[in-house]
Amino acid sequence: MHAMQVLTATAGGLGAGGGQVVPARAQMATTLGFHIILACFGIAFPTVVLVAEYLGLRRSDEVALLLARRWSQAMGVLVAVGAVTGTVLSFEMGLLWPGLMRTYGGVLGIPFGFEGIFFFLEAIFTGIYLYGWQRLPGWAHFWSGVPIALSGIAGAISVMAANSWMNQPGGFTLSHGKVVAVDTWQVFFNRAALYETPHMILAAYMVTGFLIASVYAAGMLKGRLDRYHRLGFGIPFTIGAILTPVQIFVGDTAARAVASQQPVKFAAMEYVTRTSRGVPEYLAGFYVNGKVYFGLRLPDVDSLLVGFSPHTKVTGLDSVAPAYRPPALTLLHLSFDAMVGLAFLLLLAGLWALLAWYRRRALPRVPVFWWLGVICGPAALVAMECGWIVTEVGRQPWVVYQLMTTSQAATTNGGVLDSLTGVIVLYAVLGVATVMILRLLSRRWRQGAGREPEADVPYGPPTQPREPTGLG
C-alpha cells in the first residue's frame, strides 16, 4: 500500500508538530488515496453510462441499454462509498489539520462551498437517475442523468481549486498570521488551477474508462466474444483512449508550469541537485545523498524539456535549505516516471485500436491486445495515484506552499496513531467489500437469472414460500 510507503518515506525531517504530523499525513494519504479512486468514478462514470444510454436510445440498441442499466447499478455502489469516504475527508480537514483550518479555513471555505452545491446536485440527480430506470420514460431518464455528469465536472473544478490553491496560494492578505482580506475570484482561479484542474478531470475519465474496459477485456480473453462484451469494452475504452493524448499534452504543460512556479518540487521530481544549465534527464534511478544510482542519464534533456533549449537554467534543490526540500526524492521521481511511462503505454493501446479500426473497422483480434486492454485499467489507476503522490509529497514540507508547513497545520491531539489504525482496518474492509460486491453484481448479471423483486428486501423472507436464499 503506497500510503505506508509515504509514511515510512516521510518520517524524518519535518520539524516539530507534537509528533502527530507523520501519522496525520499517513492517515490523510490512506483516506485520500482511497477516496480519489471513487472520486474518479464519481466524476466520469455518469458520462460513460450516459453515452451507453444515448446510443441505446438513439439506435434502439438493447445491448447498449442493458450495459447502461448494469453500469448504473455498479455506479450506485461506488457513489455511495464515495459519498461517505468524501465526508471522512471533510471531517479530517479539521480533525487532522486544525492549524490549517484556523488560519486558512475562510479561504478554503470558498472552493469547498461551491463544491457543496455540486455535491448536492450530484447526489439528488443520482437518486433520480439510479432509481428512475423503471418508471421514467426513456429520454426523460437520460436527461435526469446529465446534471450528474455536469456537476461531477463542476465539483472537480471546485475541489481542484482548493488543492491548486495550496500549491499556488494567492488572493488573500495576511496580517499578524491572520487572514484579513480575501479575493474570492483569485482564490478560486489561482495560477495552478489552470493546469491542475484539467489534468485531474482527464485523469478521472481515463481511470474510469480504462478500468471499466479492463473488465470486458478480461471477458473477451475468457472467450466471451459477444457484442455485449465488445460494446462494454468499446465505449469506455474509446473515451479513455481519445483523452490520453490530450492528457499527455496537459501533463507536459503542467510539468513546465511546476518548474517555474514550484521549482523545488520540480527539482525533486527530476533529481536536479544543483541549479544549472544543460541539466540531464534521469529515467528511473535511486537518489541517495545527492547521487543518482541505476538511472538512465539523458544529457541536456531536462533543460530541453523545461525551456526547449539545452541551455535552459533549471532550479535545483540547492536553491533552498535542506529543511525546505521535499522528503522521499526517490519515491517522488519514480512516481513521476511511472505516471509518464504508463501514460505512453495507454497511448500505445489507443493507437493500436485506432490502427485496427482504420484498417478493418473492428477491434484487434490478437489476444495480446486484450491482455493489454486488461492492463490498461490498473495502469491508469496507478498513473493517477502516482501523479497524486508527486503533487502532494512534492509540496512538502509545506501544506500551503511557502506559507505554512504541514507540522504547523497538524493537530496537537495525541492518538492520531489510533485513528490511523482504525482507518486502515476500516478502509481495508471497505475496499474488499466494495470489490466483492462489484464481483457479485457481475456474477449475477452473467447468470442472468434476474432476481425476483421480493428478494430485494433486506433480510426478510420472500412473501411466497420459496427455497431460502441462504442461512435462515
Binding site: R69, V84, M93, G94, G105, L130, V457
Partner: protein, 344 residues
C-alpha cells in the same frame, strides 16, 4: 449584518440535516429494533423503500454544514475539531459504516451477509447521532475553549452533552417513525401505519421527557443557556412543546393531516431555540461571538452567494426528487439482471 445571515444559514443547514438526515438515521434505528428475520420484514421493507433514493442527498447537508462552519468561523471550527475529536471520530466511523452497510446490504444475496451489513447500518444509525449530539452539547454547555491545546474527555461527557446525545437519538427515531407512519398510510397499509404510529408516539414522549430533563439540568449547570431558553428563545421553546403535543394528539387519534408538518416544525423550533438562546455567542463561555470569530467579509459574502445559488439550484432539485419519490416513481431497477439478449 452579513455575519448574522451566515449564522442563520449555518443553523438552517443544521435544521435541514437534523430533519432529513435525522429521519434517515431514525430509519436505521427502527430497522435495528424491527425484530427477527420474519417479524421485521414488512417494517424493514418500508424503511428501505423510503430511505433508498434520498439518503445520499440528505447526507450532503452534513458536508454543507462542515464547509459553511469552517469557511465562516474557522477558529471555532478548529477549536471544536480539536476539543471534541474523539466523539467526532466515532461519528465519522459511524458515517462510513452506515452508508456502506446500507448500500451493500441491497446487493448481497444471502441472508447472512444481509444481516452483517444490515447490522452495520442499523448500529451506526444509533452511535452516529448520539456522538454528534454530545458535540453539540459540548458547545452549548461552554466546554469548548477558544484555543484548546488538545482533546479532553470531560468536554463532551458532561450531563448536558450526554442528555443531548440521547435526545438526538430519540428525535431521529421520532421523526423517522412519523414519516414512516405517513408513508404507510399513503400505501394504505393499516398494520404498518399503526406499527409506526405507536413507535412515533413512544419516541415523541421520550424526546419530550429528555428535552425537559435537559432544560432542568441546564438550569443549574448553565444559567446563561437557561436564561436564553426561557428568555429570548421562549417563544420557540413554547412552539416546540406545542408542536410536539399536537403531533402526539394526531398520532393518538390516527389523523394524518398536518402530522408531518407539525413534527418537523417542532424539531426545527428546538434547533432554532438553541441558536437564538446562544446568540450572539459562537462558542459560549469563551467570549467568541459570531462577529468576532468570523472569517473576512468577502468570505461571508461568498457564502451568502453560495447559499442563494444553492437555494435556486438545489432547492428545486430537491423538490423534484421528493416529488418523484412521493409518487413512488423511484425504485430499484429489476431489468438490469436480465440476460444479455444478443450473444453471438
Amino acid at each position: 449584518m452579513v455575519v448574522d445571515a451566515v449564522g442563520a444559514i449555518l443553523l438552517a443547514g443544521v435544521t435541514l440535516y437534523a430533519l432529513l438526515g435525522g429521519a434517515d438515521f431514525g430509519g436505521g434505528l427502527w430497522d435495528l429494533t424491527a425484530g427477527g428475520y420474519r417479524r421485521g420484514r414488512a417494517a424493514r421493507q418500508l424503511i428501505d423503500a423510503t430511505i433508498t433514493p434520498v439518503w445520499e442527498a440528505n447526507h450532503v447537508w452534513l458536508v454543507f454544514i462542515l464547509v459553511i462552519f469552517w469557511g465562516s468561523f474557522p477558529g471555532a471550527f478548529a477549536a471544536v475539531m480539536t476539543a471534541a475529536a474523539l466523539p467526532l471520530w466515532l461519528a465519522v466511523f459511524g458515517i462510513v459504516l452506515r452508508g456502506a452497510g446500507f448500500a451493500f446490504r441491497k446487493e448481497v444475496e444471502t441472508v447472512r451477509w444481509q444481516r452483517v451489513f444490515g447490522a452495520a447500518f442499523a448500529l451506526s444509525s444509533l452511535i452516529t447521532p448520539f456522538f454528534m449530539g454530545t458535540v453539540i452539547g459540548a458547545i452549548a454547555s461552554q466546554r469548548v475553549a477558544a484555543n484548546p491545546p488538545h482533546a479532553v474527555l470531560s468536554v463532551w461527557t458532561g450531563p448536558t452533552s450526554l442528555l443531548i446525545g440521547a435526545l438526538f437519538v430519540t428525535v431521529c427515531a421520532y421523526l423517522a417513525a412519523v414519516f414512516l407512519t405517513r408513508e404507510a398510510s399513503q400505501r394504505q397499509d393499516d398494520g404498518l401505519r399503526r406499527y409506526f404510529a405507536w413507535r412515533a408516539g413512544a419516541a415523541g414522549v421520550i424526546s419530550g421527557a429528555l428535552s425537559l430533563a435537559t432544560l432542568i439540568e441546564v438550569r443549574s449547570s448553565d444559567p446563561a443557556l437557561y436564561h436564553g431558553l426561557t428568555g429570548k428563545a421562549l417563544a420557540l421553546v413554547i412552539i416546540a412543546a406545542a408542536c410536539g403535543l399536537a403531533t402526539l394528539g394526531l398520532l393518538a387519534t390516527g389523523r394524518m393531516a398536518g402530522l408531518r408538518t407539525l413534527s418537523v416544525l417542532g424539531v426545527a423550533a428546538v434547533v432554532w431555540g438553541w441558536g437564538v438562546a446562544q446568540y450572539p455567542a459562537l462558542l459560549p463561555g469563551t467570549g467568541l461571538t459570531l462577529a468576532s470569530g468570523s472569517a473576512p467579509h468577502a468570505v461571508l459574502v461568498t457564502i451568502v452567494v453560495i447559499f442563494v445559488a444553492a437555494a435556486l439550484l438545489v432547492g428545486p432539485s430537491f423538490l423534484l426528487l421528493f416529488w418523484l419519490h412521493g409518487r413512488q416513481l423511484l425504485e430499484p431497477d429489476q431489468h438490469a439482471d436480465k440476460r444479455a439478449g444478443t450473444g453471438d
